[in-house]
Amino acid sequence: MSATDPHQAIHRTIEAVWRIESARVIAGLTRLTRDFELAEDLAQEALVAALEQWPRSGVPDQPGAWLTATAKRRAIDLFRRNAVAARKHEELARELEALERTPPDLDAALDETIGDDLLRLVFIACHPVLAPESRVALTLRVLGGLTTDEIARAFLAPEPTIAQRIVRAKRTLADKRIPFEVPRGPEFAARLSSVLEVIYLIFNEGYSATAGDDLMRPALCEDALRLGRILAELTPAEPEVHGLVALMEIQASRTRARATSTGEPVLLLDQNRAQWDQLLIHRGLAALERAHKFNATLGPYLLQAEIAACHARARTPSETDWTRIVLLYTELAQVTPSPVIELNRAVAVSMAQGPQAGLTLVEALASEPSLARYHLLPSVRADLLFKLGRHPEARTEFERAAALTRNNRERGLLLTRAASCDDEGPGRL
């Protein structure tokens, strides 16, 4: 079934070339012009030129070089036409001209710096001065090579909203004079954390249902995974980066098992493990190995990845190393204290030491204000009460949880469990 419409076919090819080349083109242009906002605009103009010319001329042999050269020419025109031709602009225009005359093999030598430029691009797109949703849109655009329309569809948002968000983000970076550089020293860790946050946000948008009937959008998970893998090659000595990649690979491995054919969510312990993607699990465990070469203290992504790996290694739920999971959650709670992590730890404790031990911890969280509207708290409590044979109390908690969740499918699951409390007498397990 080959593409019969040549117009569509060349269009898809140009989109594919853009996905492959755009980040490098933008990164290189940003270094040349020292103006990220301008560089991104120029790159987009080069794409428009490609869409106009390549259907006639064919895709060039070196599409990345063509796009860069086209953008450079536009930059030179722009600088020349600029009425306020400050001396700096003239110098830049001369620099650009000189670079344009660079023979091809010197361009190849410049390729060695492209890794550095890509990393600079990562850090600027994920800059914490931007709101998270802006960082996400900008990162998907300049690093993921997604079109505005693709980003809009992925986030179920109107296209103009995303387009404006990106324009405003670039403006903010320009206004605040955010430099095109890799942060150094103590700043690096905090800034890297901001980058990882963006990538994981994208992954979670694809992986977890937020409101309504949304289910997984695997394409977003793939985008996040690709970005994570790219980052792992740019910063191979950063254990948390490998940790994030490991976490995403292992979570993505469960995609097939997480929902029934009719879209009902399936809890981890109920999933058919034969449907877990062993290739992705293997990749996740390999990423963990890479992280462990550095012998650093485990950060939050590594810890979460280790927990995911405990599940991934268990061929059946009964083989799960719950004791190790309890230890990992205890560590995670120290690194990033949060009532949600305490709740997860309580679940692990209940599996390792029995429902009563878990229930004691859960009830200690009952008065936690940040969990007051968190449906998983009554949901977990209900499950433990059910296991202890306290069915009327379990039912109350299941109903409470159902009222709190914003996800329709999850509400259905909880109400079903509430109803099942009536069917079970105290003597039946």
Binding site: R12, T13, L156, T161, D214, P218, E222, L280, R283
Partner: protein, 145 residues
């Protein structure tokens, strides 16, 4: 989407003890590095010549075992990648950047891997458009900020 990218054998690659040309290996190594840096490689491996392999032929209930080597070298597999990309066109663009795997005449075949979405789409186009319209009306949606 996942694609299996298959390097076909040649009579030379099928020769027992055949080692690839070092310059070619270096170029292929560099290409593999580019693929990994692009974040699209899921797996890759090279295969021994078919002289080290075997075939099992099925006919109804009968099974026949045939030892390698097998003669139609151009239809054999010498190696493969598994890539995660967004379209067949993207896979093709990457393959165009691959050095000639054997020098002389050779072939790389690209095949799409079956995935869950092929059996049951997660969200149809109609559903996507409906959700965009619904979300636009909700207050305080992240999408509308």
């Amino acid at each position: 989407m996942r694609f299996m990218v298959i390097v076909k054998s040649t009579p030379e690659s099928e020769k027992a003890g055949a080692l690839p040309d070092p310059k070619l290996m270096a170029e292929m190594g560099k290409f593999n590095e580019e693929l990994i840096k692009a974040g699209i490689v899921l797996a890759m491996d090279g295969l021994h010549p078919s002289s080290k392999g075997a075939r099992v032929k099925f006919s109804g209930k009968s099974r026949t075992i045939i030892d390698g080597p097998f003669t139609e070298s151009k239809e054999l597999i010498a190696g493969f990648w598994l890539w995660q990309v967004k379209s067949l066109e993207e896979a093709i663009e990457w393959v165009k950047r691959c050095p000639n795997p054997h020098g002389g005449d050779s072939e790389i075949e690209i095949r799409q891997v079956f995935e869950m979405e092929d059996f049951a789409p997660i969200l149809s186009e109609e559903e996507i458009q409906r959700k965009i319209a619904t979300r636009a009306q909700l207050p305080n949606q992240t999408a509308n900020k």
